[in-house]
Amino acid sequence: MSPLAVSFAATGALLLVAGAFGTLAARALHPGADRGPERTGWGICLGLSAVGLSALIASLGGPEPRLGFAMLAVALLSIGWFSARQEAAGPPVVSSGQPLRPAHILLQVSILAGVLFYTARALIRPMGSIDFLAIWGLKGRSIFSAGAIPAWLSSSELAGFSHPEYPLGLPLLYAGIAGVVGTWDDHAMALLFPVFQIATLLVLYGWLRRRGTERGVALTATTLLALFEPLYSGFLTGMADVPLSLAMLLLGTALSDAIDGTDRRALFRLAVASLLASSLKNEGLFLSAVAAAVAILSGGNTDRTRRFRVALAAAIPAIALTALVRAVRGAAPLRDFDFGLISPSRFGELLGRVGETISIDFHIAARAWILLPAIALLLATGVAAPWATRQLGLAAAALAVYLALPAFAVLGPVWLAETTLFRTAAALAPLAAAGIAGRFAPAGSARDLRS
């Protein structure tokens, strides 16, 4: 067996074990027999978090990642066991009972094909985008090799190019995988990315089904997402966009569940999602704040106290994590942006940049010319449902910021829009898929509203 094959086997085995233990523990987030796909998707996230946490613990002087992960795996197992015991005494769950049609099987095969295509794209060569080398991979490899978080990674002079202001969730996950497997292999580690995709698809399908969407619609949305190459590309493999797209879906779905009070664990899921999203990218912190605003502004049958609690569950974990990291590592400036442009003395300059930004935004949006009319048509033909519209609201808020931010780019609007707009917008696809598909659910079908 070649060293590369051994590395692939070890990494694959770790991801399987982490996913399995995480899925057991995810019973605490998703109790009930009808939660299989969602629970597995969330469980994969919990398992991977344990791997990343093992690197963090080791970097703080705790046990080395292999032992740390073993201890965390036992903790996950214990959580799963206690949750299963509680669940056994709970009410029975009624199955949806819709028959599987040939078209459904075809869609399932298409989803599998989407996963296989992405796996091939991700594994065709070692992870190697410039952002992986200079940011995510650099930090992960440094933490793994040093057994700690090197102080120079926080230095704007030595590591400014690697954005010290970015959260360390993904680098810690890389370092955890390398620590548990015992070697740094940026080829085998790419296996992680199809796993992120699988988790995203499971959460999307499971959530749509649980909220009453017909199987065919849920499968179609999942298929389209699985085959969405702008997100699941070889180019983005290694960067934070794919895991962030998963975390944003967790946040959006948990937000809707919490506002509607679908179950007692929804608030807890929202807090976990807020933590995960803000640990990956600064956009996660922003989206958690937007989620809190959505909760406060949501009307309907939701009482004010509940809305306030939901807003706190969305905002507090993200804010607390960000504040803790800044307290420990120091506050690093957002080096790509010049918000001094907002001052009255530079209003003329800002105005010119806004014009330039609008122009480049349209230029880049034109590349998605085939996609935009299709989305518009789907939005026009579906029926608004608050639980689905919230996903679109989160995606729209993020998109609006992505479209506007180039005006403040230090290196100019064209540079920022050209390098980030398409991929950051692509990462909103899971949220958009959930929001659009939800518009095709039968009216008043949001079942599972037991409290």
């Binding site: 080398l133 090799s145 120079w152």
Partner: protein, 102 residues
């Protein structure tokens, strides 16, 4: 940051790998001298030398840092740690206070 995929210059990669393996213990960082200004080459070096910090074409190397010079030029002085495929590894005090080798 620009996000073009990694384009390997095989000779440069071999140089970096050889330099990484030849780094003496106790080195605090690497100063990298490249002919020409290629950001992607710098980022590849930063990644390869992790967890050591890397400076690109500084006027003077910091104490305790080692110089990795890619290309045929050899500055006078300094202690050659290892001749490498495509370059050399030099230990300070190296007379690198002037222009980087071209």
């Amino acid at each position: 940051m620009a996000t073009a995929p990694r384009r390997f210059n095989r000779d440069y990669f071999v140089f970096l790998e050889s330099a990484r393996r030849a780094l003496p213990p106790g080195v605090r960082g690497v100063v990298l001298y490249l002919p020409g200004a290629d950001e992607s080459a710098f980022y590849l070096a930063v990644y390869e030398f992790a967890p050591l910090p890397v400076r690109w074409n500084p006027a003077r190397p910091d104490p305790g840092w080692i110089a990795a010079i890619y290309g045929p030029e050899r500055p006078a002085g300094g202690t050659v740690v290892r001749e490498l495929p495509g370059g050399v590894l030099l230990l300070p005090p190296a007379p690198l206070s002037g222009e980087p080798p071209r």
